[in-house]
């Protein structure tokens, strides 16, 4: 037994060492950096909480990107989860060609963000883009929008692409979750006179908590650290209209050479991610025990 334990420890050691060095040591180093005024090739000075004070009191770019990140997160998750659940229920209802639809829903997830962004940029072109062209062709010119070219719509346009890319994943997770519900429960509900809607509403959906947690945590992670699509589609613009924390951190750090300040934005991002995920896990655990 002792030998087995020793084996487990020995085999775990490399992974623990790597994670410790490449995650926790570097996070620690970033925390340390965030309390300095380090600019590229200049001497470093310890400045306490100055970076954080500036972030929350003076830096309009940071405040806008923080608000945008929250907006994008709420929009992305708020639509991906119901959409994924809805599509999973449709599949579960026994639509013809289920396998085909399942594949279709999952295809966007297999695209790289670069491919998606280029494809959607073309679709969002106000004059010749696919979306506005279709709208004009079917007589709905009034619905044609400036999309990513507008300060009021660029963030939501990027959000649409995130939803498109991830709703198939949510569908698959929910579909698996629905399939794993004990069929006896559904049958019992039907025998008791439950309609299809009531069966889903009172029997199946309440049992999708684990699936929801999985989707929620993953989509939260993606939306908080989202960079690729925003960077490629809008570069955070026009102006700061679609700037999110990750793109702002990159610009401040590498375009403006403020490495200490950039680290403080990174730490805000880490705290935000850990806080949100921690809160949610706490809530879920409480649900399990209560």
């Amino acid at each position: 037994m002792a030998r087995r334990k020793l084996g487990i420890v020995l085999f775990s050691l490399p992974a623990i060492a790597l994670v410790s060095i490449f995650v926790y040591v570097f996070v620690g180093q970033s925390i340390n950096l965030s309390f300095t005024d380090w600019r590229f090739a200049r001497p470093i000075h310890w400045i306490g909480f100055d970076n954080y004070i500036r972030l929350f009191t003076l830096d309009r770019g940071f405040q806008t990107s923080l608000i945008n990140t929250v907006k994008l997160t709420v929009f992305f998750i708020g639509l991906t989860i119901p959409l994924g659940l809805g599509l999973a229920i449709l599949l579960d209802l026994g639509v013809k060609g289920r396998g085909f639809f399942r594949t279709i829903y999952l295809i966007p997830l297999s695209f790289s963000f670069v491919v998606s962004s280029v494809m959607w940029m073309w679709s969002f072109l106000p004059e010749s883009g696919t979306i506005n062209t279709i709208l004009r062709t079917i007589g709905l010119s009034c619905l044609a929008q400036p999309w990513i070219t507008s300060t009021s719509q660029s963030l939501w346009s990027v959000g649409i692409v995130y939803i498109w890319q991830f709703s198939g994943f949510a569908t698959l997770v929910y579909y698996t979750g629905i399939a794993s519900v004990n069929p006896e429960l559904s049958e019992a509900a039907v025998i008791d006179g439950a309609t299809t809607w009531q069966k889903y509403r009172h029997v199946i959906i309440p049992q999708q908590k684990p699936a929801t947690v999985t989707i929620l945590i993953l989509t939260l992670m993606y939306s908080l650290k989202c960079f690729d699509l925003v960077w490629l589609m809008t570069g955070g613009g026009p102006g700061y209209s679609s700037e999110v924390l990750a793109t702002y951190m990159y610009k401040v750090t590498f375009n403006q050479n403020k490495f200490g300040y950039g680290a403080s934005i990174g730490i805000v991002l880490v705290v935000l991610s850990m806080g949100v995920v921690g809160l949610f896990l706490h809530y879920m655990r409480r649900g399990e025990h209560g």
């Binding site: 200049r42 400036p146 999309w147 102006g239 700061y240």
Partner: protein, 425 residues
């Protein structure tokens, strides 16, 4: 079972030993005695051919130096610079890397670069303004291979000929009048594209306009890049914003924010738009799509810029603490030779920086660009890629891209002044 596991183990160890041994043999038999670790952002078709042509010259001259090339595309060199900074801060700088020549840009790196004065002490025939652009505190920090004029306006020759518009435009008003005629004929006057985060095209337009407005001009632009201007109160900024508002409101394609620069160029190539602002490097955008210089398209100075040559060069530099300084110096030596320049600039489409290279071997448009560069009457002024500190382009472009959307002059003056203060804080 144990025996099988042991056999597999012996096989794996033997395999690894063989691999290690073969690497050792390869290393021992290598013809290389030195190495050049080099970073640049030339990855597109013509650029790649261009840089490969210098590598060929270099390898022929220094067969014992192994070239470890690291091309990193994106963001007009911004992505590569991000990589370089992390390498320098980690104490592992490359042997040499590409940077836009200009006091501001080089000044952003001066603390981590070694001067290259001795290269300039040798014969290197370039205009004094070019040498001055890489000189900081009396020392030179870069060796340029080419020069690019940034304040150019390319145009679809068929449209301009069809409408009988006379070019170039001495003033912005002449340009507006031509744009009105082009618009009335059903064309987009000016193709513009700042999509995929390329907001810096706004800055190029704005800084070119600054050269053309009454209170602007080269001295004002130089003061702006040096950090001595006062944008909140300078009339030139207001005049330039008013001019940019006129252009953005009336003459550019409405989908500019979704179009990349290349997609904007397509509008001119396809005959949908008349003008497109770019630097001399824009020629390659046309020729790569089959357009013929001086037949399908031509180029002139940006309106009101006919007397000014706004430019930057592509330089290579010597980082402090590089592992192979001799190889880097060999590279710089090759870099300034006529042979390397001619091969590079012919493929790249940029202008040779040495003034002693005969123009005969270049096409007509390239010859025109070379003549403009060598014209002593054209006042040379740095472009936003080289003249101001590195952060200028990023911060000012953010402020101007909001203006492009809202066209609010008063608010942009405040945003601009705030961004400017941040650049020079």
């Amino acid at each position: 079972m144990h025996q099988r596991t042991r056999r597999i183990g012996i096989f794996v160890v033997a395999f690894l030993l063989c691999v290690g041994l073969s690497n050792l043999v390869a290393l021992a038999s290598s013809e290389y005695t030195d190495q050049l670790v080099i970073y640049h952002w030339w990855t597109a078709g013509g650029e790649k051919i261009a840089v490969d042509s210098i590598f060929d010259v270099f390898k022929a001259a220094y067969p014992n130096i192994e070239v470890v090339e690291n091309p990193i595309t994106g963001g007009g060199g911004g992505t590569m610079r991000a990589q370089i900074k992390t390498m320098i801060m980690a104490g592992n700088p490359p042997d040499t890397f590409q940077v836009c020549g200009g006091k501001g840009m080089l000044g952003s790196y001066i603390d981590v670069l070694d001067p290259v004065d001795d290269f300039w002490d040798e014969y290197f025939p370039v205009p004094e303004a070019i040498k001055e652009s890489v000189t900081i505190n009396g020392h030179q920090y870069g060796i340029p291979i080419n020069v690019m004029r940034a304040n150019m306006l390319f145009y679809n020759k068929h449209i301009i000929d069809e409408l009988n518009i006379s070019v170039p435009f001495e003033t912005l008003d002449d340009f507006y009048a031509a744009c009105d005629r082009i618009k009335a004929a059903g064309y987009i006057p000016l193709a513009h594209g700042v999509g995929s985060g390329a907001k810096y095209w706004w800055t190029l337009m704005f800084d070119s306009i600054l050269l053309a407005v009454p209170h602007g001009g080269p001295e004002y632009l130089e003061s702006l890049y040096a950090g001595t201007a006062n944008p909140a109160n300078d009339p030139a900024i207001r005049e330039a914003l008013e001019a940019m508002k006129t252009i953005a409101e009336n003459y550019i394609n409405s989908d500019y924010a979704a179009r990349t620069d290349d997609m904007a160029n397509n509008l001119v190539v396809n005959g949908e738009a008349a003008f497109w602002q770019s630097g001399t490097w824009g020629k390659g955008f046309f020729t790569s799509k089959g357009s013929v210089p001086l037949v399908d398209f031509d180029a002139m100075a940006f309106p009101g810029n006919t007397e000014y040559y706004m430019c930057h060069s592509d330089c290579f530099v010597l980082p402090k603490g590089a592992k192979h300084p001799n190889a880097a110096r060999a590279w710089l030596e090759i870099f300034k030779t006529p042979g390397a320049e001619i091969g590079f600039c012919t493929a790249h489409g940029s202008t040779v920086i040495r003034t002693d290279i005969p123009v005969g071997g270049f096409d007509d448009m390239a010859q025109k660009f070379i003549e403009e560069y060598r014209d002593p009457n054209l006042r040379k002024v740095a472009s936003p890629w080289g003249g101001p500190p590195e952060v200028y382009l990023s911060l000012m472009s953010d402020a101007l891209s909001v203006f492009g959307e809202r066209l609010n002059v008063e608010r942009t003056i405040q945003d601009y002044a705030r961004a400017y203060a941040e650049v020079f804080e």
